[in-house]
Symmetry: C2
Subunit: 543 residues, 2 copies
């Protein structure tokens, strides 16, 4: 990566006041719902428990013995503090939260290691390969697919490789509107370092506060843009990846046709082929013009047709999220029974009112009723949706404490199958939920991203569970959802990644010759089989 | 690939009048310049030969003996006719044309095989792996990088796998605006099959008439769109690839985050990992609104800044090609000494005049002088440029007959290095040309595609050669160009691919861990090492 660019003016480091991260659930302990609110929330779900699961104290947890000690040279980077080990055991899937609340931490890593430099990462991998210690890369720990949980069992020990100390924006290239950024940067810190330069990455997944650039890249995250560049993949200029056999550094190129893309091979590799330490990312100028609006549709299929027309219009709205009636009700937007389309346009350069007007005309022509947005007003559906969106993970945790099962999964498929898939999930998954939980529960859907050739539907399932059986029940519902996606040729994931939880579906989705190629590549790059074993592919046979 | 779509209404097959393809040069024999025109053209290049190289009769060629006979089951698909073998020996690089005119056909394949079905492709690979016969996939044969020429030497025989009989649009999915297309379809035939449906792929490389979908995919071709989706990669929904260990078929997905993209792994694999037989491609509605204009700039660097502003404007012109003064003069557009920016906008849905006006305002704000386009008028620079563009390969062949060396190469780099790279190529490559040919020659440049973070510059070198030494001289100039690209961190190719001619530069550009992964994947998919050996990576050791 050429360095013909200016370093950000000091002080480039943001120093946010430290907040206490939850070891078991989403975000900070301060923002978790107190017991009384959990109970109130549970009362909205018929069949929920009456009392919340208690939150165990981290010092009371029964953690497995530490099996591996750090070598002297790496000791300053490593910690086997119980709080560290507990908070690095799981990601933030529903089943992770429930198991943590249960005090089930058998999978805890032996050590949490925090490299301060890329060389530290190299040294950790060298040591781990020699010592037969599995290395699970850990960014913000927000995985909802079992991406950061060790399950392979055969290694002599496990370390969680926490990259959060590598959080700097190292260079800004104004001419190319790009920045060289360390992979451990969390969303807010990354944006804080870009802001003084008038620049932004504009990648805002729901996990924004608690996920990192490296995590986004390793999982092909979906972000802010609902159309056009929906995955972070398209914002990558080049990557630096530490593999056990050397550092992989691609040229900074705006576009290339030189062989299969090295970057696209590491994007989505979920820590199995190497540890992403840096990337040159394409940036945006900060938008100065924004406008948003909501459109109501009496019928969800009419709404889908409208969204398809929007996706093909070339108008490229930044936001284009369709909520089905249940989802809209859950988010408290729209009106009873209507589907709600939330549209947003933005530009750094030119007013966007005209573009929004064109979008609304299109929506009207396709049977929608536009509701002009009034920011700040109590009926501002776009703003209300955004707040609900960011608050959702905390509500999910509160429901988990009330033994309510929630599951979210996202997919994509072409338009020819979209309506069928939507109905099939509503029907068949509804039946599975009834069978598993004894109640119908709710199955709602929104389209989070849309393409000219198909949408990315995102489903939310809520149903009461039986305390103690939640994980088993969740697993059954997950299995049913994977089956439906498979039957409809839909992706096992659009932007939540594969991890360990989606493996059964992914193994069917992935073409077998590509699986052979991937396994061979894994063997070449990680001959000792230490990198995030069990994610994407089976670990090699025990040594 | 799901088949929930309608088959095109019969007759879907175009039946163009057969035209006689040139065995040694571009396109058809009818369109090649006659001797008198070659001589006239040569007179424009000081130092060119006085007489054109003769074109050998295909029956007079000394071809190497045929070493392998087809097995009985495949015999109906194979031909060792001298004309077939001669026309499948090379692509259409300058050095290919000169060697063909020289009658140097030592690398001719033993057989040309034309599968009629995908199963035929499977059968050919099975036979070839058993028989130690190299298989060189061949689409339209338009490679300018040694992509279809066997050079490895160690195999018992070589077949050219000509996919031109697999040229059907098999399905059209109107709902998703996508089509399932066989890989051997040439540009015009492919578009002819889509036209009755009001649809178009809109991928129009310079080679359009004589290149195939499969070739575009295997080489990550650049096409029509100068901004946004410049590579065919972005138009791919799914691929079918026959590998020696099985057929790789990806799901039709508008977007996915399920592990590293299988499609992106085969895109750009240039026939080394498998034979692409089909793809579901994203289509466009046929544009009903088009507008174009040219803008003149006194200074090429001012023009580059303007193009950068256009690339970032979000206005996404379909055409945005910047010609430097020499390139403009060569194409007969603009006025002496000016750089010329050709802009084009198009839409299937809405008028584009406003968007063109915004682009012209932007160009004017950045120092340009717009010249409104008058289609059909004699001073229509946009139209004139387009005609010159399509005629160029025939002129190149005529110059080759006059022993004038021409070399074109394209690259990409970030904006921070673009001006420096431009000057370095002009200066250093100019010096190399002087050293090699004894004359300064000309080194011109255009930007064929532009991105927010950098351009794709395309350089054209013209200089008189010495008859008999042209290939050696061309090779020296090529080596010098690769060196300059390397020194500036620019890609060895933006859309012409790597083939065999760019290997030295590619080997330095490609990160070493990725090279290890690619070699391991190649070994897993093509254990016998028969697929296009020497392209991208070295063939495995002799068996």
């Amino acid at each position: 990566m050429a360095d013909r660019s200016t370093a950000p003016s000091a002080p480039s480091a943001p120093s946010p006041a430290p907040r206490s991260r939850s070891w078991w659930g989403w975000g900070t302990t301060a923002e978790a719902l107190p017991d009384a609110e959990c109970i109130a929330l549970g009362q909205l779900v018929p069949g929920a428990a009456d009392t919340p699961r208690p939150v165990p104290g981290v010092r009371d947890l029964a953690l497995p013995d530490v099996r591996v000690a750090p070598p002297a040279a790496l000791a300053p980077l490593m910690s086997c503090d119980p709080g560290e080990r507990a908070s690095h055991t799981y990601g933030k899937a529903y089943r992770d939260v429930v198991r943590a609340l249960d005090g089930d931490l058998a999978a805890a890593p032996d050590q949490v290691v925090r490299p301060r430099t890329e060389q530290d990462v190299v040294d950790v991998l060298d040591w781990a390969a020699d010592a037969d210690v599995a290395v699970v890369p850990y960014g913000g720990g927000s995985s909802v697919v079992g991406g950061v949980e060790y399950r392979a069992g055969r290694h002599r020990g496990v370390v969680s490789l926490d990259l959060s100390a590598l959080d700097r924006v190292l260079r800004i290239d104004r001419a190319s509107r790009a920045a060289r950024i360390q992979a451990g940067a969390l969303g807010p810190g990354l944006e804080a370092q870009l802001r003084p330069h008038g620049l932004t990455l504009r990648h805002f997944p729901q996990s924004f506060e608690y996920s990192t650039l490296g995590g986004w890249l390793a999982t092909r995250a979906g972000g802010h843009y609902a159309t056009l560049h929906t995955h972070i993949d398209d914002l990558v200029e080049s990557l630096r990846v530490v593999t056990p056999v050397g550092v992989n550094e691609s040229l900074r190129l705006p576009g290339s046709g030189a062989g299969p893309s090295p970057d696209r091979f590491f994007l989505g590799s979920e820590g199995t082929l190497g540890v992403i330490t840096e990337a040159w990312m394409r940036l945006q100028d900060r938008p100065r013009h924004k406008a948003s609006a909501t459109v109501l549709f009496d019928d969800v299929h009419t709404a889908m047709d409208a969204v398809r027309a929007v996706a093909r219009s070339g108008l490229h709205p930044a936001n284009c999220r369709l909520l089905d009636p249940g989802e809209a009700a859950l988010a408290g937007v729209g009106r009873g029974g209507a589907s709600v389309l939330v549209l947003g346009v933005e530009s750094a350069h030119v007013p966007v009112g005209g573009r929004l007007a064109e979008l609304l005309t299109l929506a009207r022509d396709h049977g929608g009723t536009p509701v002009p947005s009034r920011p700040g007003a109590p009926d501002d559906d776009a703003g209300r949706w955004r707040s609900a969106f960011l608050r959702m993970p905390y509500l999910r945790d509160a429901l988990a404490r009330m033994s309510v099962i929630t599951e979210t999964f996202e997919t994509s498929c072409t338009w020819d199958r979209a309506a069928e898939l939507y109905e099939a999930v509503r029907t068949r998954l509804g039946e599975a939920v009834t069978e598993v939980t004894g109640t119908a529960g709710t199955v709602n859907c929104r389209f989070t991203h849309v393409y000219p050739d198909g949408p990315a539907p995102y489903f939310t399932v809520v149903a009461p569970g039986r305390r103690g059986d939640e994980v088993a029940m969740w697993d059954e519902i997950k299995a049913a959802s994977l089956e439906i996606l498979h039957d409809h040729g839909a992706s096992v994931t659009h932007h939540h990644a594969v991890g360990r939880d989606h493996r059964p579906g992914y193994d069917r989705q992935r073409p077998e010759p590509f699986a052979l190629a991937l396994r061979a590549a894994k063997q070449a790059l990680d001959p000792a089989g230490i990198l995030n074993p069990g994610v994407l592919i089976d670990p090699p046979d025990a040594r």
